[in-house]
């Protein structure tokens, strides 16, 4: 041979042959029954962990939102409560004031009516008195006139008598 090749760098066909077979067996068997399920499990776990972290973050954000919402609701409720109290107070004040006004006006009205009635009754009574006085005067006059014609003494006596009978009440 022209060039002496070191046996170390001269590949043996036998090892090449068996190595090809061994490598293909490994590639096929491990590829199907080991690498594929292993890598699948690992990536599934990784996505699972990533999902769990993401959902935890989401829940955390939601919780924070809920707390904020609660606080906002509480504040709103407090505001509403104070508003309601204020309104109620105003309403009650208004009612009291209105009742007072009404009572006063009623009182005024009643007093006025009473006065009016008094005045009316007084007038009626006066009228009545006047009428009675008139009729009495006429009556008396009639009687006086009738008696005078018969007896003077009696007449005077009678007038006296009549006068006593007249009681002005």
């Amino acid at each position: 041979m022209l060039l002496e090749i070191n046996p170390l760098v001269l590949p043996d066909i036998g090892l090449v042959f068996w190595n090809t077979i061994a490598f293909l067996i490994l590639l096929i068997v491990l590829g199907k029954f080991a690498w594929k399920p292993i890598l699948k499990s690992i990536s599934e776990r990784e996505t699972g962990i990533a999902d769990a972290i993401a959902s935890a973050e989401k829940v955390k954000a939601e919780m924070a939102g809920l707390v904020n919402e609660n606080e906002a609701m509480m504040a709103k409720a407090r505001e509403e409560r104070s508003l309601m109290i204020k309104e109620a107070k105003e309403a009650s004040d208004k009612m009291i004031a209105a009742a007072k006004d009404k009572a006063k006006s009623e009182y005024d009205r009643i007093v006025a009516e009473a006065q009016q009635a008094i005045v009316q009754q007084k007038n009626a009574a006066l009228t009545d008195v006047k009428n009675q006085v008139g009729s009495l005067v006429i009556e008396v006059a009639t009687k006086v006139l009738g008696r005078e014609l018969s007896n003077k003494a009696d007449q005077e006596n009678y007038i006296q008598q009549l006068a006593e009978a007249v009681k002005l009440n």
Binding site: L8, D12, I13, F23, L26
Partner: protein, 367 residues
């Protein structure tokens, strides 16, 4: 930023590999004069030959040396003009562990570790030997099968564990040990180099990564069933490199080929000039993968063995005071290299795939 760190990474890889290559060359250079010395001296005294010892450990073998005079015979499978033939490698050695002639369809004999056909007169029949297909279960093939067995056992178990623990539970035991490595391959190798289409190539990259890694680690175990230098064997790295070549070129898109044969945005003369260079690049990529892994692992083994051999060269136990700590130190570095080379091979494969399927927007980029 990503591009910059990537290029720095690859620069580091290249530098490191080059350094290791140089280192191994240096060792070869320093080893080579020694054997002649050792040969002359060794033959005279009838003892130790460093180069032979080291190469014996690095090279593939038809039987698996367990220790002392104990060897595990392995099946020899030969395909010749007269058909398929299977026999035990024990027939190829005599009781003194010297090569013996086995009479099958032909007369077979081990010559420098390779099975050759002998002629009538007992000399090598090169013509017939050239037509001999040796697909024996050698030491490396047996170790490779062991790796396949380990990988199947481990990862099918892990897959079952994923099925049992379900998606909601944390991984346990072996499963939790493997998951970070799988995630490393997915996130650091596939996703960064290939992009959003990485999922298709994950089985290929994971298989390559773990096959190289386990073989690298098993190669560092000094005793049976480790010690076979599978990932430091050029046939092994060549097969993987060819697989990468096939995957890269089968998944390559129009843009990739356009950039190779007719670089857009260039003058036509430049296009003509670049085309052959780019075409060579298509082949140098897998070849570099092949050589890098082979050279790194082989160099590491040679280094450790050389250090241990110092004890035998100096023929004194005192030498072990230096040789053993150094061998342990290099062994630790080799552990790192075992992982690193598996990573680099897979990372570069992913990068080549990424380059092949990248969608270019050259209209704006090149003008």
């Amino acid at each position: 930023m990503g591009m910059a760190s990537k290029s720095i990474k690859s620069l580091l890889v290249v530098t490191f590999s080059f350094f290791i290559l140089l280192f191994s060359n240096h060792i070869h250079a320093s080893e080579h004069p020694q054997p002649e010395q050792a040969n002359t001296e060794g033959h005279a005294k009838g003892d130790f030959n460093v180069t032979e010892t080291i190469l014996e450990h690095i090279k593939d073998d038809h039987s698996w040396h367990l220790g002392g005079h104990l060897s595990l015979p392995l099946p020899v499978i030969l395909y010749t003009e007269k058909g398929l033939e299977v026999f035990s490698s024990a027939h190829l050695v005599d009781e003194h562990h010297a090569p013996a002639v086995y009479a099958g369809n032909f007369n077979y004999k081990l010559v420098e570790g390779k099975i050759k056909i002998l002629g009538e007169d007992g000399s090598i029949n090169t013509l017939a030997s050239a037509k001999l297909w040796d697909i024996s279960i050698t030491k490396n093939v047996a170790a490779l099968f062991l790796t396949v067995f380990i990988l199947l056992l481990v990862f099918l178990k892990v897959a079952v564990a994923y099925k049992n623990t379900g998606v909601k539970n944390a991984p346990k035991g072996l499963q939790s040990f493997m998951e970070p490595i799988i995630l490393f391959v997915r996130d650091e190798i596939a996703k960064t180099n290939i992009g959003h289409k990485y999922e298709r190539y994950m089985p290929f990259l994971l298989t390559i990564f773990f096959l190289i890694l386990i073989n690298n680690f098993l190669g560092l175990v000094p005793f049976f069933p480790g010690g076979a230098n599978v990932s430091g064997n050029i046939a092994f790295t060549m097969t993987l490199a060819v697989c990468v070549f096939v995957v890269v070129n089968l998944s390559a898109n129009k843009n990739y080929w356009q950039h190779i044969f007719w670089m857009p945005g260039m003058h036509w003369s430049m296009k003509l000039f670049l085309a052959p260079i780019e075409l060579i690049g298509v082949f140098t990529k897998p070849i570099s993968l092949m050589i890098r892994l082979f050279a790194n692992i082989t160099a590491g083994h040679i280094l450790v063995l050389s250090l241990i051999c110092l004890i035998f060269i100096f023929k004194t136990v005192v030498a072990s005071a230096i040789a053993v700590p150094f061998a342990v130190f290099i062994g630790l570095i080799e552990l790192l290299v075992a992982f690193l080379q598996a990573y680099i091979f897979t990372m570069l494969s992913a990068m080549y795939i990424g380059m092949a399927i990248e969608e270019h927007h050259h209209e704006t980029a090149h003008h």
